[in-house]
Subunit: 360 residues, 2 copies
């Protein structure tokens, strides 16, 4: 394996147990296992049960697998929005979710915030909004919505479905799922797995909404509609031949994380984030992109490195650390650091020391 420690926010550094699990997978015939076998069903089931335990997912919430989180943006709009979705947009990924709704010929409305900024939780979506699309952690800018944000949105919008993109935050956030209708992520970020699998959580209200659109004669897709995914998921099956190996590996990493304990993972994430933000504030040449502490991401920390970007990158690479580039136009003036469960505390301490010691 590459000895460089990878801080890019996705695909990220592998969780440190993945290579061993892959060896076991080959020994057990998983890469060629048919998805129409009892053995596959038991893998699906144990992956789901592991995720329920890890994330505290309640009954009445269902878990489906897709090819990517990008696919889930599309499936959410297809299945849950007849016309009106409302999007909080503050970066490239939340913007893309909004655009998907446009491309599917819905009539989405957006509330925009400037780069590096959050939102006032007391916004009011237009009357008749069917779904509010929230990006918990905007990977491009490192803005994370605080958890009490969702309570305010829920209170002010009792009739809209709330869908939360948690791609680059889970397993860190302790969501109160009773406030949310759908949450989704992909496995190549916080879970440290090879890309090629999306995980979509929906509650009964989502199932009912999709069935309602279908009963109106609207098309909500074909194999990956909520009713199709749901019928199969009840039997721990999938409508199509899925990424069996990906589901197996996710189950194994979730097992490892449950063994470590979600509290320890959350605590370490908080600690590592604090260490890094402290370092960013100690060196005058560097500063956190997100000024408002309430919106600072704990899982993707973005540094405004300005004209020092290239030199800092070089310095880190020489020590075997690969920072993530700033996103898009910010490539030459910002650096992004993923803070995922696979990143050790010692590594973050070392990274922080180097950033503090950097001489402009």
């Amino acid at each position: 394996m590459n000895p460089t420690i990878n801080f890019t926010p996705g695909p990220s550094q592998l969780y440190f147990t993945v290579e061993d699990h892959m060896r076991t997978a080959f020994r057990e015939g998983i890469p060629s296992l048919s998805h129409r076998t009892k053995k596959f069903e038991s893998i699906y089931q144990s992956t789901v049960e592991g995720l329920r335990a890890l994330l505290g997912i309640p009954a009445g919430y269902h878990l489906y697998f897709t090819g990517s989180a990008t696919e889930i943006w599309e499936r959410i709009i297809q299945n849950l929005v007849e016309e009106k979705s409302f999007h909080l947009v503050n970066g490239a990924f939340s913007k893309r979710f909004f655009e998907v709704s446009q491309q599917l010929n819905r009539k989405p409305v957006k509330l925009e915030a400037a780069q590096g900024q959050g939102f006032d939780a007391h916004f009011k979506a237009p009357a008749g909004t069917e779904l509010i699309a929230l990006t918990h952690n905007e990977t491009s800018t490192g803005v994370m919505l605080p958890l009490d944000f969702f309570r305010t949105v829920r209170t002010n919008h009792p009739n809209a479905l709330l869908a939360v993109d948690a791609v680059s935050s889970l397993p860190f956030p302790e969501f109160d799922f009773s406030l949310l209708d759908s949450v989704f992520f992909s496995v190549q970020k916080g879970f440290g797995l090879p890309a090629g699998l999306g995980v979509w959580l929906v509650n009964d209200a989502c199932v009912a909404k999709a069935e309602q659109l279908l009963s109106k004669g609207l098309s909500i897709g074909s194999y990956h509609t909520i009713p199709s995914l749901h019928t199969h998921a009840l039997k721990y099956q999938t409508p199509e031949t899925p990424n069996v190996l990906g589901i197996y590996l996710l189950g194994k990493v979730v097992e490892d994380m449950n063994r470590k304990g979600i509290h320890a993972i959350r605590h370490e994430t908080e600690y590592k984030a604090a260490v890094l933000y402290q370092a960013l504030s100690e060196n005058a040449a560097i500063s956190p992109l997100v000024k408002d502490k309430a919106f600072r991401s704990k899982t993707v920390i973005v540094a405004d490195t300005g004209e020092h970007t290239e030199r800092i990158t070089k310095m880190l690479l020489e020590k075997g650390m690969q920072p993530g580039d700033g996103y898009g136009a910010a490539k030459k003036t910002q650096l992004r650091f993923a803070n995922f469960p696979t990143h050790a505390k010692e590594t973050f301490e070392c990274l922080a020391d180097m950033l503090v010691a950097y001489k402009p």
Copy 2:
């Protein structure tokens, strides 16, 4: 790895080099490689170039990656059919393609054949048919369309797009791509790879048709529309975070297959099929499901085993050979045998000997 030889038609036995390639992948950091790197682009490019060489894919044909072949059914209807698709249906998978068109609120028409039967190539699709959906190899029944079938269909339908599901036949068939507009497959069958990746070939006529639908204001999807896939593919990129590891492994197996030579692979496939069909005709208790030799699949051979099914299965399993069950309702009366590049000649000879020696 499981020592049983797996004849299930999908997911099938792994190609025998896959485990080695997986080890190399980990050594080279492929499982966490970002899809926005030059290294990924060069993997994508070499996979495409390898497939072009292996299958004889001409210029003017483009190659996109999806999550599954099931997804490609949906993308074909979304991107290439405003209203009228025409489907040749003779089993569970060709039927599913037809149903996808219904679910997307198009107005598909089908021509049906009984189980185990092919079609008269001189059928005439309704006037105004935009796309004819053909399943080259119906995996559920082992019916394979002969290659000259496509020439007749093309001649009789100069204005329709021809889309060919080659999921369980490639890399075996030597398609004349000038007769076809789109061909697609998934990697867990003939290519012997872990499931979770679909490969979609389209020609310029498909690109034009998708753009035409889009310019009419119709929705053709979001991230996996042909225009979006196409723009990215020109740079060897993908719209979403793809199954990077799957694309890498496909490229490596295709390299192995090119080293062996497609002529040798085709010749061996023909030979193994001949050996097995001969065996099926020699034992009075067993017979090929497909009576018309012109339509007998070379890659998924289905045996009518009637009341002997359970005993034959047991006999084969004792010798370390796992036959595929008959599909759906035929589970207790048929067996299916995949004849893919990973299956050795000697294995097929042994399988044939055992079937001939079976005593009712």
